[in-house]
């Protein structure tokens, strides 16, 4: 009896996610395919066939473009390899027709995805089905239909890919999401910055502010409808709240003589936690958006900054240099001294709690290099995922399995760009942007 593929893949993924002792041993899934080899953290991608979705009327280029985006999403994870159509033996000519599984087995496709697209006026319908080729069955829950306006065709493609990824890996999807970031231009000593938002894969860029004043470190609200960021528009750094739909913005907590920065939402979206500097000393505060009530959460002469809530809202992870070098601490959401969790060599900053609650991502600086890393919430199992002249500011994909961050090159011509990596350190890649970019922040999965 062949185990369901999903179960196998889950097992392999779990192995890839850090059961280190087993990672060096090649793992043969079964006597029959699928066969995925894991070694030194490298997994052979699963062969998958996604023939161009069928045009069921008026779909024109949409069917081909949607197929292209689905393939790009899945291949982009590093877990899948699409078998090109030139290698296909049989053709899918009807969405509801039979599938000659032998033909797909023959080319070693482990999953087959068929789809169909129809367009009527500005309405588009996309349906798809994912098959376990070796069992000759539909993957449970992987036969769906999405309908909406043609404008949303890319989002529908991402939703198709999210379902397939999720069914096969057992992880949540993350393709149907947006990323807010800082678009940069100009020389290093006169950098112009403006807020921009894009699909997770770099498509559909829209600019939210102009470049007239410095903007830093935007963060999405838990529902993706608002953005917090730091702006120099008033002349001084101030946290600003923007409504994404209307682009209306307001400055939060204007206290003269202070500087506010590093804001983040609470998981319920009702509270903002941030750093407030007064007289040279930076502490962490929270502000209730409904009542306007300001609470001081830390009270120390050291720098306390970069706060991030746990997904249940009960704790805050933050950065403090109270011991002389920046390290990571966790305190109750109501404030307090906190308990240090970072213990290795070097300086730790920008901690971000995973939406899954299991890891904290951070920036580490050691011996002149920067790293993006993850550790358990008690500081154990620290794992550095990247290394470069300057990597900083990780943000979690909605499924808590992929991180995006800023990488900046050195020297006078140094430029920032956006990169992503998964939490095993695999699949490091640059996100395509029109120009230099920094400070990415991932949205939740879109509804």
């Amino acid at each position: 009896m062949i185990r369901p593929m999903r179960q196998i893949f889950q097992t392999l993924l779990v192995l890839a996610l850090g059961l280190g002792a087993l990672m060096s041993a090649p793992v043969l899934a079964q006597s029959s395919p699928p066969r995925i080899v894991i070694g030194q953290g490298v997994i052979e991608p699963m062969p998958i066939a996604i023939p161009t979705f069928i045009d069921e009327g008026g779909a024109g280029d949409y069917a081909r473009e949607i197929t292209r985006v689905v393939i790009s999403d899945l291949e982009g994870t590093g877990f899948f390899r699409n078998i090109g159509e030139e290698a296909h033996i049989s053709r899918i000519t009807s969405f509801d027709g039979g599938v000659a599984f032998e033909d797909w087995k023959a080319i070693n496709a482990q999953v087959l995805v068929t789809g169909a697209v129809s367009v009527s006026g500005d309405r588009i319908t996309v349906k798809f089905r994912a098959y376990d080729v070796f069992n000759g069955t539909t993957l449970e829950g992987a036969a769906l239909q999405f309908a909406g306006t043609t404008q949303g065709w890319r989002r529908m493609s991402h939703k198709v890919a999210d379902v397939i990824y999720s069914k096969i890996t057992g992880e949540g999807g993350y393709f149907d999401s947006r990323v807010v970031f800082v678009s940069e231009s100009g020389p290093k000593n006169q950098r112009l910055k403006r807020l921009a938002v894009m699909d997770y894969d770099g498509a559909n860029v829209a600019y939210l502010t102009d470049s007239n004043s410095i903007v830093l470190a935007p963060r999405f609200s838990p529902t993706g409808d608002r953005i917090l960021y730091t702006s120099y528009e008033s002349g001084f750094p101030r946290i600003t709240l923007m409504d994404v739909g209307s682009l209306r913005r307001q400055t939060l907590d204007e206290q003269p003589g202070t500087m506010t920065f590093a804001p983040r939402f609470s998981p319920d979206g009702g509270t903002v936690v941030f750093s407030l500097e007064r007289g040279g000393n930076t502490d962490i505060y929270s502000l209730s958006l409904s009542s306007g009530r300001l609470s001081q959460l830390t009270n120390a002469p050291s720098i306390e900054t970069a706060p991030s809530f746990s997904p249940d809202g009960s704790k805050i992870v933050f950065e403090s240099d109270r011991t002389g070098s920046p390290q990571i601490y966790i305190m109750p959401a109501s404030g307090g001294e906190g308990t240090r969790i970072s213990g290795g060599k070097g300086r730790y900053g920008t901690p971000v709690w995973s939406p899954r609650g299991d890891y904290i991502a951070f920036t580490k600086q050691n011996e002149g290099r920067f790293h993006i890393g993850v550790m358990r919430t008690d500081g154990t199992e620290e794992r550095l995922l990247t290394a470069s002249f300057l990597d900083e500011g990780p943000t979690w994909a909605p499924n808590g399995r992929v991180l995006m961050f800023t990488r900046e090159t050195s020297g006078g011509g140094g430029q920032a760009s956006l990169w992503s990596v998964d939490i095993t350190g695999r699949n490091l890649k640059q996100i395509p942007t029109d120009g230099p970019a920094s400070d990415p922040a991932w949205s939740p999965l879109l509804p």
Binding site: N189, G235, P237, M259, A262, E277, I303, G414
Partner: protein, 177 residues
């Protein structure tokens, strides 16, 4: 003074500060280190620099007195050299009461954005506190941190980093409050 009157005064002070936007680096502003035109939010304010031979000019302050002090890595402690420059700044400010100053704190690029913002603020405050201790009225001084956003030197070696870990006293004429 009543609380309401105090609030009004605060608002008035804020108003002044807003007119005199300290962000020399906004679009439309001159290059970094170009003392003078404060052009936040695309606006252009004009400030005469004067002749460096005129001891009451901004040019004299910037060039002869010295408008900046430098810091060690991660530090906001004032070195003996820095104290000497700041004592001269304080002396000049005390003799030229018609000027106010924004103290900009900066960091080098070795560090995260958030930490460097806080570090820059610490440096600016160290300078502010020293100037106040030398008799400069607190209400003539404000601070701002740019973190690592505005390096003056762009190379990625200590030669540049040491120049970027700085606090710069930026004068504005006629804005004494």
């Amino acid at each position: 003074m009543s609380l309401a009157a105090k609030s009004l005064l605060l608002i008035a002070v804020l108003g002044l500060a807003a007119c005199n936007n300290p962000d020399r680096y906004g679009a439309g502003a001159g290059g970094p280190g170009g003392a003078g035109g404060a052009g936040g939010a695309g606006g252009i304010d004009t400030t005469g620099l004067g002749d460096p031979n005129n001891p009451t000019s901004i040019a004299y302050f910037n060039q002869r007195v010295g408008d900046r002090v430098l810091f060690a890595v991660d530090q906001s402690t004032l070195s003996p050299e820095a104290r000497s420059v700041l004592a001269a700044q304080a002396n000049w400010l005390n003799q030229n009461p018609g000027y106010a100053a924004i103290i900009e704190g900066h960091a080098d690029e070795q560090g995260t954005r958030e930490y460097n913002l806080a570090l820059g603020a610490r440096r600016a405050a160290a300078v502010q506190n020293f100037l106040i201790s030398q008799g400069v009225a607190a209400n003539r001084l404000r601070t701002i941190s740019y973190g690592k956003e505005r390096p003056i030197e762009v190379c990625s070696t200590e030669a540049c980093y040491s120049q970027n870990r700085r606090a710069v006293t930026v004068l504005s004429a006629g804005a004494g409050v």
